[in-house]
């Protein structure tokens, strides 16, 4: 999870920095985020500031903190609850020349047992009468992995991401999007604390644990399509689909539909539903028949066969305040998502006294809140 966390957050800076032909507005966002689900609580602040100069140059800076309090099912069954903090900062620069935008960014994510540096480059061009925007993205990441309480353990991850993104105006009310991305990773790709489970008739529970062993390489490919339609009245509806496949033989499908409805000039409401499903990684098992059953061993529920459902709501309120008169526009925003995770082959080991492998399947709900202030200047 830490590996993906580091890569994902760094990559996610790109969409904000890869706008073509027009540099993003001068804007500052201050956000509080809160996640509560599966025994894990994560909250903290996030700040994103963007400023352009002479309509040709733009800089952005971000700061993000995760304060984690974890008593997840993995932690409860094989370790002790813990608290930790992760801090991330990022900086970016953009240069607009004609219809081409060049962007470069760097981010660092740091926690007590994991450090991730990511550098990204992108180029975006408007073409065909500005109906089409094509972006090429390259990102490189260098991670250092350590393990608390084990000074002898140290490893690395090398990550490269190649991406293409196309945005196409189809009609005066419809925009289409297509994205393709290849992600290659090499190094220590599992969580150094997580353990695999195997049948052990000598153990009181009927099973024991051993360290996970993952392949040291992983290559994933993702392709996505989306369309956003301006409805006959002032509102918008969007549909998204993504297909993902990788060398660990995970295939995932993501589908989402969202609706945006402004009310007067002050309020904007959003509602969306998202569905995700995947099969398990080829080497994953909830319970191996014996110790060292195969070369690779994993019991990470992220690699299990699973589905998630999300229902989310958002409201934005545009307001004016004499204290903030130096800002051109100000909004307060609240977004709430409820996510349900269901696993097909990851069992709830809090239940004991039953035959190993017959425990109930694990499932949990998560509440996710973002409350933020946005100011344009």
């Amino acid at each position: 999870m830490q590996l993906i966390r580091a890569a994902a957050v760094a990559l996610l800076l790109l969409p904000a920095t890869a706008l073509a032909a027009v540099l993003p507005d001068d804007r500052a966002d201050l956000l509080y985020h809160y996640y509560d689900g599966g025994g894990v609580t994560i909250d903290g602040p996030s700040l994103l500031v963007r400023k352009k100069f002479a309509e040709k140059y733009a800089v952005n800076a971000s700061y993000y903190v995760d304060m984690v309090s974890s008593a997840s099912i993995d932690v409860i069954t094989t370790a002790s609850p813990y608290d930790e903090e992760r801090t991330q900062y990022g900086v970016g620069f953009e240069y607009l020349r004609g219809k081409v935008t060049y962007a470069a960014s760097f981010s660092n994510s740091n926690e007590n047992d994991y450090n991730a540096d990511t550098a990204s480059l992108s180029i975006s061009q408007d073409m065909f009468g500005d109906l089409t925007t094509v972006s090429l993205i390259f990102s490189r990441g260098w991670d250092d992995v350590t393990r608390r309480g084990d000074a002898t353990f140290e490893d690395t991850v090398d990550r490269r991401i190649y991406g293409v993104d196309i945005s196409q105006i189809a009609t005066k009310n419809l925009v289409l999007g297509l994205s393709y991305e290849t992600i290659t990773e090499e190094g220590f790709l599992n969580n150094p604390y997580r353990q695999a489970r195997f049948v052990d008739v000598d153990a009181a529970l009927g099973y024991s644990y051993q360290a996970e062993v993952y392949p040291r390489t992983r290559t994933g490919n993702a392709i996505s399509f989306r369309g956003r339609w301006y409805l006959p009245y002032r509102a918008a509806i969007q549909g998204d689909y993504r297909f993902y496949t990788d060398t660990w033989e995970i295939q995932g499908h993501t589908a989402e539909v969202s609706y945006t409805h402004p009310l007067d000039d002050e309020w904007t409401f959003d509602v969306h539903y998202r569905f995700y499903t995947q099969n398990a990684a080829e080497f994953y098992s909830d319970l191996y028949p014996r110790e060292d059953f195969q070369n690779f061993l994993a019991r990470d529920k992220e690699l299990a066969s699973m589905q998630s459902h999300t229902l989310g709501f958002g409201v934005a309120y545009e307001f004016k305040s004499s204290m903030l008169s130096f800002l051109n526009k100000t909004t307060l925003n609240l977004r709430y998502d409820r996510i349900r995770f269901d696993y097909d082959d990851f069992r709830d080991l809090r239940v004991t006294g039953v035959a190993p492998g017959t425990e109930p399947l694990y499932t949990f709900d998560a509440d996710v809140i973002r409350f933020y202030f946005s100011g344009w200047f």
Binding site: P15, S124, D126, I169, V175, G177, Y244, Q278, E302, R370
Partner: protein, 75 residues
Amino acid sequence: MRVARLAAAALLLVAASGCSRVEPWVKPYERENLADPIMAWDRDPVSSSYMRHVYDSREGARGANGGAGGGCGCN
């Protein structure tokens, strides 16, 4: 990875092949609706990037989240 490189090269060729010849079928003055903020792929990056982080940390799939283009062409 090779596929990605080939795709990138193909796109660059397209970009260099005289895009001014294409007559835009949606004229600039017809893009009022597309320019409405509610039509942005990613209206609040600080919020959407956080949600992707939530999913990427708990699901096997990642990448191709899109939204890089903007696509309005309103300038």
